[in-house]
């Protein structure tokens, strides 16, 4: 887990609960996040970023996008990376890199992380919902969460994590299609079942000609 702000510790917490071994890093010394980790995500282990990602099967990136621009892509080479980040000019300020109507933020992130397999997920659920809205598999009120990526195998691996955490994974077969998960899109910040989620995706895709 890279990022220990609003979102990082909550993701770490639900991942620990799902039985995963979790390391977590902020920008600096792990001592700085020791207490945060102990109280908000007990069972996860604070590390320096390089150590946290070194032997990870999967890295979740949840740092502000305006900080991502200075993030060293080499750290994530050959890793499977979940991009949980959003471009929010109201928080990030206007960033030239992301002011690009032709590309979604995760396509731009993937462009910078050229050595990594990038999947977009966990960006459209609020940090304050992530724990409380989990449901066991098969529950009628289980929430659907999008998983988008160009690499089918990578999408499948992330979808499995989403399912184990407590959500129905709705797969989208490209990062381009993942633009539908962004702020302002039809699923952002909304609690939808898998069926409702899929319907929203199809309606939007039909309307915009994107798939």
């Amino acid at each position: 887990m890279v990022g220990a702000g609003h979102v990082g510790p909550v993701i770490a917490r639900v991942a620990v609960a799902a039985g995963y071994e979790v390391t977590i890093a902020a920008a600096g010394d792990p001592k700085e996040i020791e207490l945060i980790t102990q109280v908000l995500a007990p069972g996860s282990e604070p590390r320096w970023t390089a150590d946290a990602v070194k032997d990870a099967d999967l890295v979740i990136l949840a740092i502000p996008l305006h900080r991502f621009e200075a993030f060293d892509p080499v750290l994530l080479a050959d890793r499977l990376v979940v991009d949980a980040m959003n471009y929010w000019p109201a928080v990030d300020g206007k960033r030239e890199l992301f002011e690009d109507a032709q590309h979604g933020s995760s396509e731009i992130v993937a462009g910078r992380l050229a050595q990594s397999r990038v999947v977009k997920a966990l960006n459209h659920i609020g940090y304050h919902e992530l724990e409380g809205e989990r449901r066991p598999s098969g529950s009628s009120d289980r929430r659907g969460l999008g998983v988008a990526g160009d690499d089918g195998q990578a999408v499948a691996e992330v979808a499995e994590v989403i399912e184990r955490i407590g959500y129905d994974a709705v797969r989208l077969d490209s990062l381009r299609a993942g633009r539908i998960l962004q702020p302002g899109g039809p699923v952002f910040g909304r609690t939808l079942s898998r069926a409702e989620f899929e319907r929203a995706v199809h309606t939007e895709a039909a309307a915009s000609g994107v798939r």
């Binding site: 220990a4 702000g5 609003h6 510790p9 207490l35 945060i36 102990q38 109280v39 908000l40 007990p42 305006h66 959003n86 929010w88 109201a90 928080v91 990030d92 300020g93 960033r95 609020g126 940090y127 304050h128 919902e129 724990e131 409380g132 962004q182 702020p183 302002g184 899109g185 952002f188 910040g189 909304r190």
Partner: protein, 360 residues
């Protein structure tokens, strides 16, 4: 939610029940927007009524938009202070990141003098970001700005002369900063919306913690109180109170409160959702938010009192500030909500807490 073992028994602080407003520009009976000037004068009347009704604290949040023209909250607070003798007055919040800590100290120290020691400050990093371009700050620097400026503010509160050096303003060398406070530092809080770093920061500087719970289940913030208490201990500081700031509205009955509040809530959130990309609320999501698990305190005095008491206990907090007002919701409705809060909700919350929490 797992609770780490051996959490220390928290110190009990007196229960403080306040009101906050952002000073939204309200509408008249015909739905026409009032002038900024009239909106500001109305807020003074509301503060005075809060005092008369038995409310403990009145806070005004800094905003810089034509919908919320409260850019100089401390001036408005001074007017309220001059007409009252009992109620405490403060910010909710002051956007410190785009302000000068020296000026903030001077203004609130002056308010403290005027009010006979009734001033408080709630410092915020600023999620309403209109002030950044206005004062020439880059939004992307908000973390660094807030960190450095809270550190300076903590220095200023200790009393002068102050020696300080940083990147965000001119250095101070043995600098006298006036007016001196009369009875030591005034209460200072950090407003936190869900950033654990901000919780730690509050503890590090010895500021109290004000949790803004404006969406979702309030109980999920309980780990933040815990984090705050453990951080205070780690930094070798004495216990400090935890407060909750949350939006709501009151009328004689649940139905009346809901029907007054809903159209304005919808309108405000619709505007907000355009900026943040969130879904516009529906009747169902509203029903959830005003229910026991939600973040809104909308209803009759009994409904709201029950919810406040339950969440103070769940969050182990001793202070609750109800943020009243919502977009165009009219001054008359707000005045009536203020009376109900002071005269009925506050005594009822105290009663509920006495029966739940035996005093040691």
């Amino acid at each position: 939610m797992t609770t780490p073992a051996a959490a220390p028994e928290p110190t009990r602080f007196p229960v403080v029940l306040g009101l906050d407003t952002f000073g939204d520009r309200t509408s008249d009976r015909n739905g026409r927007a009032l002038s900024h000037a009239q909106t500001i004068r109305n807020v003074v009347e509301e503060g005075v009524l809060a005092d008369r009704s038995g409310v403990d604290f009145f806070g005004i949040g800094e905003h810089h938009t034509s919908d919320i023209p409260m850019s100089a909250a401390d001036v408005v607070l001074a007017a309220i202070a001059a007409r009252t003798t009992r109620i405490r007055v403060g910010s909710a919040v002051t956007v410190l990141s785009s302000d000068d800590p020296v000026r903030v100290f001077q203004r609130y120290s002056t308010l403290n003098a005027l009010s006979g020691g009734r001033a408080e400050v709630v410092l915020g990093r600023g999620s309403s970001v209109d002030s950044f371009p206005l004062f020439g700050y880059n939004l992307a620097d908000y973390e660094a700005l807030f960190e450095e400026k809270t550190a300076l503010f903590a220095e200023l509160l200790k009393g002068t002369p102050v020696t300080w050096e940083g990147k965000t303003r001119a250095a101070l060398h043995d600098q006298d900063v006036v007016p001196y406070t009369e009875f030591g530092p005034f209460p200072t809080w950090i407003g936190v919306g869900g950033s654990p770093q901000s919780v730690i920061r509050a503890a590090r500087h010895g500021f109290s913690l004000m949790l803004a719970v404006i969406g979702g289940s309030p109980a999920r913030f309980a780990p933040f109180s815990q984090l705050f208490r453990q951080a205070l201990e780690r930094f070798g500081r004495p216990p400090l109170p935890v407060g909750v700031h949350a939006p709501g509205h009151l009328a004689d009955t649940d139905e009346k409160a809901e029907s007054e509040f809903w159209p304005h809530y919808l309108e405000v959130l619709r505007r907000y959702s355009r900026i943040r990309g969130f879904a516009v609320p529906t009747k169902e999501s509203f029903a959830f938010e005003i229910g026991p698990e939600g973040a809104l305190y909308v209803g009759s005095p009994e409904t709201v009192a029950q919810k406040i008491a339950a969440n103070l206990i769940a969050l182990d907090a001793s202070r609750f500030d109800l943020k009243y007002g919502m977009g165009g919701l009219g001054h008359e409705s707000l005045m009536s909500a203020i009376s109900l809060y002071g005269e009925q909700v506050i005594p009822r919350v105290r009663e509920l807490l006495r029966s739940e929490r035996p005093t040691p």
